[in-house]
Symmetry: C2
Subunit: 178 residues, 2 copies
DNA sequence: ATGGTAGGCTAACGGCGTTAGCTTGTCAAG
DNA sequence: CTTGACAAGCTAACGCCGTTAGCCTACCAT
């Protein structure tokens, strides 16, 4: 269902998002959420069909927020670099949101329509004439982000340097495209 | 605890792995696992301290398997390309295992010692003299893999081409390293 | 012969998502 | 002014989940 959320539903989603950011995925239960909202768990179902829909509603708010920031970055001198920096920083500031957004197959009919496309502006912009390289760059950025979030690099790793190396590789590739 | 698993524990882990591959993460519950093994859920705790340890034991078997394949690839003419192909294929053949292995912070003291290092052979080999580029390449490979697994590319995307683009970018980068 | 231990068991706890079915207040139509 | 629909709350319950406590029994070493 792609139908608009009621104002009350939006309130609940906002509380859910806050709860997730604070306590992580294990902390976001229907009962705890209801507690914070001041109702009983079963009443949530008057506003949202199930937990999956709730999570997708949260994801939609994240997409919107990211899209706003990306679009603002268009003004910058180096929009590509700026957007990558925004991406990286957003994940660091909101790790649980970032995981929620990326670590599951999206059920697109549960998202606010159009919001995924808006948030994918950088992927489309960065290497506009080469969508394959654009996707590869996105994969790199996501890989770096999630591997860092999940503590998969050895402690000795210079993560900034890895970002630079990858970004350089793609920049050069885009420059000498043939 | 890094202590060795008992033979019985290894049996249970093997069944658990099979269950996960078949039914996905939601299908891997202590009760279902016990059912398959022919005991009660609580008895599992005689062999493994908790579910986290069970999952890490599964991950260890995956690391071992991957490491074996990687090491065999050393014989090949193009070990780097071969290893990337192995990586990609493994994820496609065992999506639930791949997710389990990558989508959470690892608790390294729960792994069989040394197994993570063995499985990271490609990362170390590929760009041996430039660990930063090695990590970036790994991030790219993981990003491509997980984004594809999670259905995040539009249906129109040419995923093979994206792999090629990224791989080329890194290869050129490694060639013109300064 | 005996006592410890490995490896089963039952029962239970507190949590989870979700559903069925009841109640109440608001508000529009007759 | 009454009435009836409906939105939005409630309680109770179902069947899952991971995990723990405490019991039993068979084996094996002293």
């Amino acid at each position: 269902m792609t139908t608009e959320l009621s104002p009350r539903a939006r309130e609940i989603v906002a509380v859910a998002r806050q709860l997730l950011e604070e306590k992580g995925p294990a902390g976001l239960s229907m009962r705890r959420l209801a507690d914070r909202v001041g109702i009983r768990a079963s009443s949530i179902y008057k506003h949202l069909p199930d937990k999956q829909a709730l999570e997708h509603a949260i994801v939609s708010t994240v997409f919107e927020e990211l899209a706003d920031e990306f679009e603002a970055a268009l003004e910058h001198a180096d929009p590509v670099g700026t957007m990558v920096a925004i991406y990286r920083r957003y994940a660091k500031d909101h790790p649980h949101l970032y995981r929620l957004m990326t670590e599951q197959p999206l059920q697109r009919d549960l998202l606010v329509p159009g919001v995924e496309e808006r948030a994918s502006l950088p992927a489309r912009l960065l290497v506009g004439d080469d969508p394959d390289a654009g996707r590869a760059l996105w994969a790199f950025a996501h890989g770096m982000t999630i591997l860092e979030l999940n503590d998969r690099f050895p402690p000795s790793a210079d993560i900034d340097a890895a970002w630079r190396a990858g970004f350089d590789a793609f920049r050069r590739y885009a420059e000498n495209a043939q």
